[in-house]
C-alpha cells in the first residue's frame, strides 16, 4: 500500500476487532453464513455520522483495546455504542477524552484510543471514506472461510485501512455531528422475544414451561457464532427428540442439544445443524446478545409473527428517527484537529476530563 495515500493504521487491534458491513447474502446454500455487524443500527447511525452510506464497512470491536492512528491526513470517525465507552484522541503524551455517538476527527499522526467499550460488550467504529474491497459482495469478515476484511481475518496490529479519494479537508470543514441513542438502541433489555421454533414439538410441556419461565445467564462462551446460556435444563420430549436430521439454521435459532442448555446462534453460526430448535429470537432483539456481557440474566418471551413484525417496523422507525435527528454539535467550531495542530491541548486536560463538545 502507498503509505502516502490516506489511511488509518491499526496500532492495537484489541481483543477482537473485525471489518463488518450489513452481511454477505445469497450464499447460505453453500454453507457460508452472513456475518455482518451484530448491531445493524449502530453501523447505520455511525456511517451517517461520518457521511458514509449506511452499508459501508465499519470496525466491530469487542471490549476495547483498539488504537487507530491517522496517516498524513485527518480522518473523521465515530464510535457507536455505550455512552460510557472510554474514548480518547491524541498521542502518547497528550490525550483528550471524547464521547461515543458523535463524529470525531483524528488529526494527522494522532490516534483514536478505544480502551473500553464501557457498559456494553462491543462498539462499532465508523470511518469516513473507508475503502475495503468486497469479497462475494461484502466486506464482512468471516475468518473461517478467509472471506472479507483485509485478508480474510480479524484486524491485526500493523494493518492499514485504506481511505477513499474524497478530500479529507472537505470533511474536516463540515461541522461535527452527534446522535442521541434511545434506550432501545442500546440493547440493554433482559427480555428476548422469540417465536416458537421449527422443533418446538421436540420438547415436553414441562421443558417448554422451563424455557419460558426461567432466567438464563449469558455464559462466557459467547462470540460472533453464538452464545451459550446457563440455567435450568430444558427437557426434550424423549431421548429420540434430542437429535434431528440436519435442518437450516438462521441467526436467532435457539438450539437445545442433549445437555438441555440453550445456545442462541448468531451471524457467524453454521448454516445447518442437527439439534432441535425450540425457538427463534426475533431479528429486532438479536443485537441484545451482541451487546450484553457474560453474567447478564435473560428471559425468553414467546411472541407471534405479527408481534415480531410490529417490533421490526418499530425498530426501523427508531433507526430512521435516530438518523434524522443527527445534528451538528453545539461547539462545532472547536475542531479537535485544529486544537491538536496548534498544540493547544497541552495543559488543558489531564487526560481524564471529559472535553464537553456535545
Amino acid at each position: 500500500m502507498d503509505i502516502n495515500a490516506p489511511h488509518l493504521k491499526v496500532v492495537n487491534a484489541g481483543l477482537l476487532s473485525t471489518i463488518q458491513d450489513s452481511g454477505r447474502f445469497g450464499f447460505r446454500h453453500l454453507g457460508i453464513p452472513w456475518a455482518g455487524t451484530l448491531c445493524p443500527a449502530w453501523r447505520i447511525i455511525g456511517n451517517s455520522l461520518v457521511g458514509n452510506d449506511s452499508g459501508c464497512a465499519v470496525i466491530e470491536c469487542f471490549e476495547g483495546g483498539l488504537q487507530l492512528q491517522a496517516g498524513d491526513t485527518a480522518v473523521r470517525v465515530a464510535v457507536i455504542g455505550s455512552p460510557s465507552a472510554h474514548i480518547k484522541l491524541g498521542n502518547q503524551i497528550d490525550q483528550v477524552s471524547c464521547k461515543a455517538n458523535r463524529s470525531l476527527t483524528i488529526a494527522p499522526g494522532a490516534s483514536l484510543y478505544l480502551s473500553s467499550t464501557g457498559s456494553l460488550r462491543h462498539a462499532i467504529i465508523a470511518i469516513a471514506n473507508i475503502d475495503i474491497p468486497e469479497h462475494l459482495g461484502s466486506t464482512s469478515t468471516y475468518a473461517k472461510a478467509s472471506l472479507g476484511g483485509l485478508d480474510g481475518s480479524a484486524l491485526q496490529a500493523g494493518d492499514n485501512l485504506r481511505l477513499g479519494e474524497r478530500s479529507q479537508n472537505s470533511i474536516d470543514s463540515e461541522p461535527h455531528t452527534y446522535c442521541e441513542l434511545s434506550e432501545e438502541l442500546l440493547y440493554q433489555s433482559n427480555v428476548l422475544r422469540a417465536i416458537p421454533g421449527p422443533q418446538f414439538d421436540h420438547f415436553s410441556s414441562k421443558g417448554v414451561d422451563t424455557f419460558m419461565s426461567s432466567s438464563y445467564e449469558l455464559s462466557t462462551e459467547a462470540d460472533r457464532m453464538g452464545v451459550r446460556l446457563s440455567g435450568p435444563v430444558v427437557a426434550h420430549r424423549d431421548a429420540s427428540a434430542k437429535d434431528i436430521v440436519s435442518d437450516a439454521i438462521v441467526p436467532g435459532s435457539v438450539q437445545v442439544p442433549g445437555t438441555g442448555l440453550p445456545i442462541v446462534l448468531l451471524n457467524d453460526a453454521h448454516t445447518a445443524g442437527g439439534y432441535p430448535k425450540i425457538a427463534t429470537v426475533i431479528s429486532t432483539d438479536l443485537p441484545i446478545l451482541g451487546a450484553r456481557r457474560a453474567g447478564a440474566h435473560l428471559r425468553f418471551k414467546l411472541v407471534d409473527i405479527d408481534e415480531a413484525i410490529a417490533a421490526r417496523v418499530h425498530q426501523r422507525n427508531l433507526i430512521d428517527r435516530a438518523v434524522a435527528s443527527i445534528a451538528p454539535c453545539i461547539v462545532s467550531e472547536i475542531s479537535l484537529s485544529t486544537l491538536f495542530e496548534n498544540n493547544l491541548i497541552d495543559g488543558v486536560t489531564n487526560g481524564h476530563d471529559e472535553l464537553n463538545v456535545s
Binding site: 447474502f25 445469497g26 450464499f27 447460505r28 446454500h29 453453500l30 454453507g31 457460508i32 469479497h135 462475494l136 468471516y142 473461517k144 472461510a145 478467509s146 472471506l147 480474510g152 422469540a194 417465536i195 416458537p196 421454533g197 421449527p198 418446538f200 414439538d201 434431528i244 436430521v245 440436519s246 435442518d247 437450516a248 438462521v250 436467532g252 435459532s253 453454521h270 448454516t271 445447518a272 445443524g273 430448535k277 427463534t280 429470537v281 426475533i282 431479528s283 429486532t284 414467546l302 407471534d304 409473527i305 415480531a308 413484525i309 417490533a311 421490526r312 417496523v313 426501523r316
Partner: protein, 254 residues
C-alpha cells in the same frame, strides 16, 4: 402459540423467526425428499429472478426442508406462502428433469496416513480393505445439501454395508480434503476442522476456493463419483494444484 405457519401440497411451513419460513417435507434422509426440495427451490429461484416473488432474499435447501428467507416488512408470511402455493399449482410437474445435475469424478487416495480409519472401517464392517474401497468407488453419490462448513457437501447414499455410527471419540483436527463416512453419508472436509466421521482417504481437489465464483465446488443436486488414485498421483496432483490455477471443470464428467 403455534410453530406452523401454513401448509402446501407436500410440506408444512414452520416459523424460524420473523425472517425465515422452513418448508418441511419430511424428517428423514431420503432422495425423494431431496428431489422435492430441489424442485421447489428451482421454482422459487425462477420466480425471484423474474421479479414475481417480492421480499425473498435467499433459500437454504436441506435434507428435509427448504428454508425461505424473506423480509416480513416487504411481504407478510401468509402472502408469501400463498405465492409459493400458486407457483406449485402452476407447475404441477416436478422440475427435476430440467435441472442440470453436474456429475463430478473426484480423485481420492484411500488409506495411508490420509485415511487413518480405513482399516478400522474394514474390521468394523467385516470387509476387506479392498472391498471397502470398491464399494465406495463404485457408488454414484448425490450432494443432498451443503452446510456444517462453507463448501461442505453431505453426499448420499453410502453403500449399506459401510453404514457405521459416528466415531465414539471425535477428532479435534480432521485435515482438509479428508473423505469420511458416517451413517448413510459421505463428506469431504473443505477445511481442517473437528470431526467425528470415519476417514477413508483424501481428495486433493479443493472443495472451496474463496477467489472462485461460486466459491464452493459442489452444489446440492450434483452427482459425485470417486476414483482411486495412488500416492505418487496424489502428491503430483497436490503440487499441480498448489502451483497453478487448475480449471475445476476438469473433474466434471458431463
Amino acid at each position: 402459540m403455534n410453530q406452523v405457519a401454513g401448509t402446501g401440497t407436500d410440506w408444512q411451513a414452520l416459523f424460524s423467526g420473523d425472517t425465515t419460513l422452513v418448508l418441511e417435507f419430511g424428517q428423514r434422509i431420503d432422495s425423494a425428499i431431496v428431489d422435492k426440495v430441489k424442485s421447489l427451490d428451482a421454482l422459487i429461484h425462477y420466480a425471484k429472478a423474474a421479479g414475481t416473488l417480492p421480499g425473498v432474499q435467499e433459500t437454504i435447501p436441506t435434507f428435509r426442508s427448504l428454508a425461505v428467507i424473506y423480509d416480513p416488512c416487504v411481504i407478510h408470511p401468509d402472502a408469501l406462502l400463498e405465492h409459493i402455493r400458486e407457483l406449485e399449482g402452476r407447475n404441477p410437474v416436478t422440475l427435476q428433469d430440467t435441472l442440470t445435475a453436474r456429475h463430478w469424478n473426484l480423485p481420492v487416495l484411500y488409506g495411508t496416513e490420509h485415511g487413518p480409519d480405513l482399516e478400522s472401517v474394514a474390521s468394523l464392517t467385516g470387509l476387506s480393505i479392498d472391498a471397502v474401497i470398491d464399494l465406495h468407488v463404485n457408488c454414484t453419490f448425490r450432494a443432498y445439501m451443503l452446510g456444517f462448513l462453507p463448501g461442505y457437501a453431505f453426499l448420499g447414499d453410502t453403500p449399506k454395508p459401510l453404514h457405521l455410527p459416528r466415531r465414539g471419540e471425535p477428532r479435534l483436527r480432521v485435515p482438509a480434503g479428508s473423505v469420511a463416512i458416517a451413517m448413510q453419508l459421505t463428506g469431504i472436509y473443505p477445511w481442517e476442522s473437528p470431526g467425528g466421521w470415519h476417514i477413508l482417504g483424501n481428495c486433493p481437489v479443493p472443495m472451496f476456493d474463496a477467489q472462485a465464483l461460486p466459491p464452493a465446488l459442489l452444489r446440492a443436486g450434483d452427482k459425485i463419483s470417486f476414483t482411486r488414485i495412488d500416492e505418487p498421483t496424489f502428491n503430483s496432483l497436490k503440487q499441480e494444484l498448489a502451483e497453478s490455477n487448475v480449471d475445476r471443470s476438469r473433474w466434471l464428467l458431463n
